[in-house]
Amino acid sequence: MIEINHVSKWYGPLFQALKDCTTSVARGEVVVVCGPSGSGKSTLIKCVNALEPFQQGKIIIDGISLTDPKTNLPKLRARVGMVFQHFELFPHLRIIDNLCLAQEKVLGRSHDEAAAKAMKLLERVGLTTHARKYPAELSGGQQQRVAIARALAMDPIAMLFDEPTSALDPEMISEVLDVMVDLAREGMTMMVVTHEMGFASKVAHRVIFMDQGEIVEDTPKADFFGKPRSDRAQKFLSKILSH
């Protein structure tokens, strides 16, 4: 579904953010990407949606190459859902309109059709009563659930999560993770940048560990938690699991 082949990215001439990264996410697979901050995990996931350009390598989504000049990027992005660390709901639109905007403008659905779909997804994330509110009137956890519903409204073939719980209070993290776990169990293809090792051990098929722009480990979940092969991954795990 998602193939990342030898991708390298530089910010400016000197700083290399991604170093020859190669991995893939199969259909229905859940892959968790973790690593210390500045390791390039967010950059990598943003490259997958072509939100960040990269200078070398290839990313192929469902058989379509991002770097092919003939690729209609907006159309491809519409098929891949993305959830951000800071939710990024549109503050001037009510919750329901946040979910309808792209359905109508990108997929060409009628307003009624889009609204029906939106309500169904809001029900799924338990927020139907908030449909007429503005984003700033919701808690962080609620906003992130809306953001997930907004991405799902586009009927994505895969979902990308960029640290979806990092900006949340501890008590709100679980309500967001619950939605993500359900999604994973339904067979959604997911690539998740997160430090939530509980989530990883529950639903991930594979764990990718990154450090300094490199993919250091790319192993099945059991191997990663059982016995990471690299020192860096072991150190990282011992630090985040020590509390």
Binding site: H86, L89, F90, P91, K105, Y134, P135, A136, M154
Partner: protein
């Protein structure tokens, strides 16, 4: 000082034979309003386009925006009006220049366009600053949903950006109205122009300019009140003027 105050002067017939001195001032007031509105529409449209161009990734677009803004904001308004009115017709091919000079209402068009373009540079800078101040994630979220660049600006970035700059835009609208007084120099009989001719005909300089001052004040109060109503109506939670 031997000044002979005469507040009844407004109701005395003016020397043009068409009504009283008050009618003269009112016709000037009307012309000021017309010129201001035309100039403001031009300023808003051109300012928005140029402001947006300066935020685009395209080098050519942002360079054009930069050149435009620096050209129009670095020359005194009076010089710009003179350039449009006296110099431009001489620079054009003879036939075009002649057509321009013989154009009816030339002072009106020159003032509206000249002041409009001058103000558009200021509007452009505010639009640019406002878009630049939005969280980068907003653009990424819109892009990730499959919206094109044009759609991202239309439905997401600009609606928020305009809300943020409504208060300074109110000031710019007031500046536009006051700047129309410059048009007296190219023979436009707007409010200041009419006040001056009233002074010349009647020698009642204080009454004439007191009346003009009050009229300017009234227009500006109307604008300020209207803009405050607009601000309140488009307020969104979590943003300026919102809760």
């Amino acid at each position: 000082m031997n000044y002979h105050w005469n507040w009844h002067i407004f109701f005395e017939p003016n020397p043009t034979g068409a009504g009283t001195y008050l009618d003269m001032l009112l016709s000037g007031l009307w012309l000021t309003i017309e010129t201001s509105i035309c100039a403001w529409v031009i300023a808003l449209i051109f300012g928005s386009v140029v402001g947006v161009m300066r935020t685009l990734p395209s080098k050519a677009a942002s360079w054009f925006g930069f050149a435009y803004v620096e050209f129009f904001r670095n020359m005194p308004l009076l010089v710009q009006i003179f350039l449009w009115f006296f110099v431009l017709p001489e620079l054009l091919p003879h036939a075009w220049g002649l057509w321009l000079k013989q154009l009816p209402y030339a002072p009106f068009y020159t003032a509206a366009i000249g002041i409009g373009l001058f103000m558009s540079a200021r509007v452009a800078e505010q639009v640019r600053a406002s878009i630049g101040a939005l969280p980068r994630g907003q653009k990424q979220a819109a892009t990730a949903l499959g919206l094109t660049t044009a759609q991202t600006y239309t439905y997401v970035l600009l609606p928020i950006a305009y809300r943020i700059i409504l208060p300074p835009l109110t000031s710019e609208f007031l500046n536009t109205i006051k700047n129309t007084a410059v048009a007296i120099t190219i023979g436009l009989l707007e409010l200041t122009g009419e006040a001056r001719s009233m002074q010349e005909f009647s020698f009642q300089v204080f009454e004439a300019f007191t009346a003009a001052t009050v009229m300017y004040l009234l227009i500006n109060i109307v604008v300020v009140t209207a803009m405050r109503i607009v601000e309140r109506r488009v307020a969104i939670p979590g943003y300026i003027a919102g809760k």
